[in-house]
Structure formats: structure tokens, C-alpha cells
Subunit: 339 residues, 2 copies
Amino acid sequence: MKKEKATIKDIAKYAGVSIATVSRYINKTRNLNPEVSGRIQAAIEHFNYIPNDNARALKSRNERIIGIIFPDITNAFFAKIFKILEELLFDHKIFLLLCNSNEDGEKEKEYLYRLLQKRVDAIVIAPTGLNPDLLSEVNKSTPVIIFDRNQPNIIADQLYANDFDSCYQLTQYILDRGHREVAYAIGAENSTAAQFRYAGFQKAMAENGVSPEHCHVLYSQDESACRQEFRELLLQDQISALLITSPKKLNWFLIERNQLCLKGHNPMLAFAGYATQNEFDICDIPLTGILQKEEVYASRLTKIILNRLEHPNGKVRISELNLPFRKGNSISRIDLRKD
Amino acid sequence: MKKEKATIKDIAKYAGVSIATVSRYINKTRNLNPEVSGRIQAAIEHFNYIPNDNARALKSRNERIIGIIFPDITNAFFAKIFKILEELLFDHKIFLLLCNSNEDGEKEKEYLYRLLQKRVDAIVIAPTGLNPDLLSEVNKSTPVIIFDRNQPNIIADQLYANDFDSCYQLTQYILDRGHREVAYAIGAENSTAAQFRYAGFQKAMAENGVSPEHCHVLYSQDESACRQEFRELLLQDQISALLITSPKKLNWFLIERNQLCLKGHNPMLAFAGYATQNEFDICDIPLTGILQKEEVYASRLTKIILNRLEHPNGKVRISELNLPFRKGNSISRIDLRKD
DNA sequence: TTGAAAGCGCTAACAC
DNA sequence: GTGTTAGCGCTTTCAA
């Protein structure tokens, strides 16, 4: 049989004191007679007593748990963010309840509800974008911190990247090199990060007089379809540049490209995109792109979380992180055929 | 101000019934007068009432939370396992509290303690191997499920792979191809999986009369050191084969190798190792190695968890998963120089 | 410095 | 079918 856990009562009885005294000993909220302390300590060791956080939370309304809703923890970006977050919050004795939304609005909804049931202290979410009203509603009672994907109409803490500007800049750079037939691998359709990036792309294209039919948007999201598209792109010569807006996909692309190179091909396709340090490292030629630095992102996020926990009613903080642009030479210059 | 959450009392008062009736309505534990049900439902919607799981758990001793202690969630293997686990447990309304031990015994210990405080229903752990006694102790009161790393002296549910046998087989295969100078990239030093694999390796080596000085063990664990070693290995010609015992490292190796190939080198080093499907996919030549299939692993694990939750005092189940051996040609045959 | 007792939000046994 | 009440394990006021 599984051993029953001792309760504060057991300790009190064994040590010959009241439960209040035991509680004070555990929480060090009052000075106690050393002799009494000793007896309590002995009792705790005797029973292997471990306080019940649940009961504590019920009184103190302080769970020390934060709910995290990410689209997918197997995405290296989110895994890295989670890991850093966990490390930074460890000393604060805060637990992380990790949920994968899988870009599914219904699942996200269900998880939000369950997290509220658990009375978590806060919810960090990279939203699917399908439940904006619900997020606002939740935020009325439990702090919601929106991460990575700007939700313009929600008044809650937010931390996201300069998606529009960075993508505009990157596209501009590609166009400046003379490319006109540009393929664009878009992110999850409801993600606002993906939307802003796409808007930045479109603006740059339009400003340079490139008509929409020269934009080749790749919509695939799942790995095999996406890779297949990349392979095809690498083998054709209509489209001269590819912009990949997620590190995960960029990674797939680099693998496909490498394999082709090893088979003796020499793909001419220029490419650029959003990458973490990892993609910059594994790319055999200096990569041109936007660097998503997880460490910076995660530590900013941690500050926002801790601040919100300390001041539940403090002013909402919406911050945009400036992702640095790194020039490499994966975007080669081609002939400028401006009419 | 953050809105206060409504309690069952608010609902009862508003609906003009007792809290017991509200509880019955929520849990559907008794038939209620439809008219009363309607009033309760209205009250719930009016207050946006969400039951407090904490208070529930305090009574029912059923948290519906499982603690997971993994060495590192940025390791693609563990991330994948987590994701599948999460999906399979979602319907059972079970939450996962994810902790990274970071191969640190002290951190693992602290997390175990904190999980006990939270009164989680069970703990799934890929142990560092530094706290065997503690794990046994914990298991007396809270089900511990040991995953991926066999702990021979602990009587608790375990699920691990045939590490000794598979590595013995793989090494034997390498030796059969004529290799005698074999480098071996070893896993985390306290991980029993790493230990068993190493033992299997050593046995095969010894049985083939290869003396220890021909085994070149690579101890580095962190990414940059490890990659550096791989680079050096790829450029020398003393050692003819490399056995990499973790998918993560194998991934690093493949990247280094690719980069070298692209620079025009033609590394002669034969290689093999433990890989997930991903590494088999990205390797440009058919890989010889042991396949760690996360789906199989995770679904077996789920069954063990669910079974344990249902029967806390049921018989302990220790199971070994048979990892399949895949023959490719990354281990090339070399001259047999048997004296 | 310590104890008695109320109560956190809920479930369930018992009574009507 | 519904209400009353005890109590889950703990914190915290109030008294002593």
C-alpha cells in the first residue's frame, strides 16, 4: 500500500504542540522556543512530513504555478524559451504547467479553462489567435501574458517582436539585390506574428512595384509537405529568392539544400529568413536573416512575469523586441532588370 | 483591479439553493429538478463561475497533475515524448508539470520535494541517477515511473530500452566490418542508459580482442566541445569509425559532417549510433544505427501511467523496449587486418 | 511564545 | 430532490 502522507496534525500531536505552532515553525513566521522547534523538527523527520501545497494555496490564494500555452514544444524555439524560463523561475519556486495548443483554437480554449480551474497565478500564452475575446475575459481575473504574437486589441501584458518592420526590412534587402520573383514561406495562418511579417513583406513588395503575381506564397505547415516544396524550389529557376519566416522551416530548408548539394547539385536559389543562432550556425554559407535570440526574449519575459506576479494590478506593459538584422550572403545579387 | 473569482457560495445564494445542490449540478452526481438546474446554470453564467480545483483536490486527494522530470526539454527526444504524452493524457484531463533536472542531482532532489508538496498523482522521471534512495523513498507514497534510464535497484514502474544489447549488437556490427580503432561518444555520465550502452560496447570490444587503448571515448557533453571533437575526428585518419550514443549528438555530428562535405572534404570516418527518425531522415547516406521511436516509447509510457493511476498499489511493471537495429551503409567495410 | 478557532472552496455522508 | 454539516490541511487572527 502507498503510505499515507502525514499532516500537520500528526506533527503537532507527536511534538506535543498545536498545529498553529507547527505552521509557524514551517513558515518561520514567528520566533519559537528553541526547545519546541527541536521537537517539531524531530517530528517532521520522524514522519517525513511534507506540507500540502494545495491546502496552503487554498488559504493564501497563491499557487506558485504558471500556466504556459505554447503551440508546440517540439519547436526548438519554444523549447528553448521554456527551458530558460524554467531556469530563471526556479529560484522563485514557481512551477510551470506546460500545455501545447497545437495551433488548435478549441484546445487552447479548453486549456485556458483548465488553468483557471487550477487557479494558476498567471498564464503565459503564444496565442493561436482564435480566442481573442476569451483572452481578454480571462485577463480580468488572472494575469495573461501574451508572448511572441501580438494581439492588438487585448489589453494585457504583451511581448512580441518587431515582425512587421523586420520583415519589411528583410524583403527590402532582397529586392535591393535585384530579386523580383520571390517565394515566401508563411507561418501558422492565425498567428499574428505570421500576419505582421506577411504584411511587412507585402508592403515592401508593393512599394517596389512588384505585383502580387510575383509573390509565391507557400502555405504548407507540416514538415513533409513543406520540405517537398523546398525541394521543388531548389530545382527550378523561375523563382530566384526564398524568404522563410520561421526558424523551424528554415532548418528544414537548410537540410534539404544540404542534401541536394551533396548529391552534386548547385542550387542557385537565394534565401533568407528568421533564424535562431542554431540556423546561423548550421548554414554553410553566411546566412542573411533576422536573428531570434531566445535568451533575450526569455529574460524579458521573465521580468514581465515576475513584475506581474508582484503587482497584479500594475500598469499593463506592451513591449516590442527589436530583432537584429544579420547580413550574410545567402541572398546573392542578381541582374537588376528594372524595366 | 483583478476580478475576484466567484465561489460556490455565490452561485448557491444567487440561485437560491444550497451549495450541495450546486456541487451536485457541477459534478452531475445526482439528478436535479430541471427548474433548479436552470437557475444554477444561469448563476454560473452570470458570475462566470469556475470551480476551484484546489479545493476539490483537497477533498478528493486527486490532483490530476503528473510531474515530469526530464534532463532537458530542448533535447528533441524528450520534447517529442512530452508532446505525445501530453496529447494522450489530454482527454484524461491530466496536467503535466514539466521540470528540467539539467542532469543536476540537487535540482532533481529539489523538484522531487516540490512535486510532493504539490501532491501530484504521479511522477515520471528520467533520473540523473544521483538520487536512487530518494526515488525509492518517494515511491512509497507517490507513484514514481522511471523512464528511459533503468535503475536496477529501485522497485517502481520502469520503462527503458535494451541499451546493453542494442549497443553490443551495434558495436559487433562495426567490428565485423573490420574497424578496430573506434571512437565512442558517451552520454551523460550518471545516466544508466549511457552506462549500459557503454557496457555493451565494452563487452563487444573485449570479445573481439580489441584492447582498451583502441577505444577512444569522447566525454564532452556540451554542444560546442562535442562538435569540436567531431570536427577533429572527421579530419584525422587514425580512427576509422565513430559510435554516437545519443540522437542529439548524432545530429550535431551530421551537421558538422555536412559542412565539411560542402567545403569539399571527403571524410572517410564511418559512423553509426542511436537516432530518432529525424536523424535517419537528414543523413545523406543511409544511416546504420538503432532507432529510438518516440511514438512507441510514449504510448507505452502512457499506458503505464494510466494503469498506475488506476491501481496505485498494483504490481510494479518493469519493461524493456526493444529498439530496432537499422542497417544502412554509414559503416563502411574496411580491410580486415586480423593479425 | 503559544493555543483555540474560524475559514479558504469544495465534497459527501446523513437527514428530511 | 434538496439542505445541513463535517472536514480535507493549512494559515491567521485573536486571546491568553
